[in-house]
């Protein structure tokens, strides 16, 4: 193998003889990525932090005026924005709880010897891989009051899913549950298959009932992985934009991302939208922090 070495460098210098030193390779491999992310993710955020203290409107040529914390004060005193946060919270709770129930439930069903288990699992995972925007659009047809297959299958007549302001948020959450329960299922299956078999055997010898086994063995052991699924889905549901934006335009489904989008790109209140973006950003970073801590905890096990 040594003959394949192609180097004509001075042999007296070990680093030169062996090509680049490890430290320069490390820097060469890591620094470009970090720089790229700083330039295209962090720099824009610094830029918008600056604008968040101004009354800038990107639709006009008027120069930006410094207004201090005015935008933040206005936003935090705006009941409209608070209602957007409340809608978002409600949406997150419904959709994550639904995904947890359905996803974990299906995983419990699947966690046994079933013919074609691999194929069924892959098929069940399909919805989460598809484009939210494009598939979400098609749910409009499924929800259609007069010729949608959902009303037909459930015998609901001409039930209004998306046009009824009270129902619309639930309809969006239902589609989200359909798309993302597979994610909870996938993680739950991993958790369930990691529960040592001998615990169940011991429980069977002790004549423990199914409830006891579930609450004392299964659930505690799967809990950390379920927690990861919940935190991750909470974060994603909090950011939801595509699905709600495409399915309805009801004020009752105006999630915080949609409010932000409208403020920035329809009302062109650029300065104020930058301030709102920062409020949202801090919330997301807080959840991300919890998520990463949990990930590392599970990884260590």
């Amino acid at each position: 193998m040594a003959t394949t070495m192609i180097t004509t460098l001075d042999r007296s210098s070990r680093a030169a003889a062996r090509g680049l030193s490890d430290i320069s390779i490390r820097n060469l491999f890591i620094i470009p990525t970090v720089l790229f992310l700083i330039v295209f993710n962090i720099f824009p955020l610094i830029y918008s932090l600056g604008y968040s203290f101004t009354d800038f409107r990107a639709s006009t040529n008027a120069p930006a005026n410094f207004v201090g914390l005015q935008n933040y004060r206005d936003l935090l005193n705006d009941p409209y924005v608070w209602s957007n946060f409340a809608i978002t919270a409600k949406y997150v709770i419904i959709s994550v709880a639904g995904q947890l129930l359905v996803g974990f439930g299906v995983a419990m069903l699947l966690n046994r010897d079933i013919p074609l288990k691999g194929l069924l699992t892959t098929l069940l995972l399909l919805p989460m891989m598809l484009s939210m925007a494009v598939v979400g659009l098609f749910w409009k047809l499924l929800y259609d009051p007069s010729f949608g297959i959902i009303n037909y299958a459930l015998g609901l007549g001409t039930f209004e899913w998306l046009a009824d302001p009270k129902m619309a948020l639930y309809a969006v959450a239902l589609t989200d549950i359909w798309m993302w329960s597979p994610f909870v299922m996938l993680l739950s299956l991993a958790g369930l298959s990691a529960v040592p078999k001998h615990l169940y055997e011991a429980a069977a010898i002790d004549r423990a009932g199914p409830f006891y086994t579930f609450f004392r063995i299964t659930l505690p052991l799967v809990a950390p992985i379920l927690m990861i699924a919940v935190i991750f889905r909470t974060m994603e549901a909090f950011k939801t934009f595509d699905l709600a934006y495409i399915l309805t335009s009801q004020p009752t489904t105006e999630l915080i991302s949609i409010r932000l989008y409208k403020m920035a790109f329809q009302e062109w209140q650029t300065g104020r939208s930058c301030a709102l973006a920062y409020i949202v950003l801090i919330m997301v970073l807080a959840i991300t922090n919890i998520y990463v801590k949990y990930l590392n905890k599970v990884k260590e096990r």
Partner: protein, 319 residues
């Protein structure tokens, strides 16, 4: 274990199998409905009761790719006979294909948007996986000061809500003329996927025994040679899986594309919904467009099936 299988247990297992089948059918129904609507004649797409058995047609795909207008008067028998099969299919639906002065068929916006999606998703995937692989190796093999913080920083850039990042990016792109350009979206998707690719690839790199390279280094390879000749081939499966995940993310992305593009560089996700205007949309055409758009992802999901868990958990959970 086999000895204690009671009849209740067996019955319970059977019930579970039936329940799994029912759930699978419910979960796949929307996808089946997209696929079947894509092959329906228009008048069967929105019937009550829903049409399940029908003669499949190719006309939705012909309509998807061409510009059409309403027929004021039906075509004469000669016109109809002279038309190629794909034009007749459109005639049958009461429409005609729009042609320019030279008689060339006018394409719809779809093929162009599909191509944009392909160009942007593939280029950004190559960039993100390329850079991510190097960086993951760096983190995996060398001591990096503040490694945990740096990795958190890298991951957090992915967690930012797209609309939050899009506001300043929109202003900056406008200033340098990158709005509605392929390069603009490629940069955004690369940045978005880079963090994912670093996290996932780091997991794959950690699994390659250090001894492989050390042996090569002893044999006189330089670190670079060892990386390219020993580590990269070992990491091939991981690289492929990461690439497919990055491709799917870029392919599916909607918010950035909606905000940053409107025509020239528009991708399929913002385009497909924009076809549903006022009035009665032709759902067969939308289904055809959706079907073609979802097909690559469905195929990739099957190829990736053993890596889904890993990919969806950023490499944290492996089987």
């Amino acid at each position: 274990m086999a000895a204690v299988r009671t009849s209740t247990e067996i019955g319970f297992n059977r019930a579970a199998v039936v329940a799994v089948l029912v759930v699978t059918i419910i979960f796949l129904a929307p996808i089946y409905w997209i696929a079947s609507t894509a092959f329906k004649p228009r008048n069967l797409a929105t019937t009550i009761p829903p049409t399940i058995v029908f003669q499949p047609e190719i006309s939705p795909f012909v309509k998807l790719f061409t510009k059409r207008s309403q027929l004021r008067t039906p075509p004469t028998p000669e016109e109809y006979a002279a038309a190629p099969w794909w034009e007749r299919v459109v005639f049958d639906g009461g429409e005609k294909i729009v042609r320019d002065g030279k008689g060339e068929v006018q394409w719809s916006g779809y093929p162009n948007r599909f191509m944009n999606s392909l160009i942007i998703a593939i280029t950004s995937t190559v960039l993100a996986v390329g850079m991510g692989t190097f960086t993951a190796y760096g983190f995996s093999r060398f001591k990096v000061k503040g490694e945990a913080d740096l990795l958190f920083f890298i991951l957090s850039t992915r967690m930012l809500p797209p609309v939050v990042v899009a506001i300043p990016m929109f202003l900056m792109y406008r200033a340098v003329g990158l709005n509605d350009s392929h390069i603009g979206l490629i940069i955004l998707y690369t940045a978005f996927n880079l963090s994912f690719s670093v996290w996932l690839m780091k997991g794959f790199m950690d699994e390659i025994p250090k001894e492989y390279e050390e042996a090569a280094l002893v044999d006189g390879y330089t670190r670079m040679e060892a990386f390219f000749k020993i580590v990269l081939p070992e990491a091939a499966t991981g690289i492929a899986a990461t690439a497919v995940f990055c491709f799917i993310t870029a392919w599916n992305e909607y918010a950035f594309a909606l905000i940053m593009t409107n025509r020239r560089a528009q991708t399929a996700p913002p385009f497909i919904p924009s076809q549903v205007g006022s009035g009665l949309p032709d759902w067969t055409v939308i289904a055809a467009g959706t079907f073609l758009f979802l097909l690559p992802v469905a195929i990739f999901t099957f190829l990736l099936r053993n890596h889904l868990l890993r990919g969806m958990s950023f490499g944290a959970i492996r089987k």
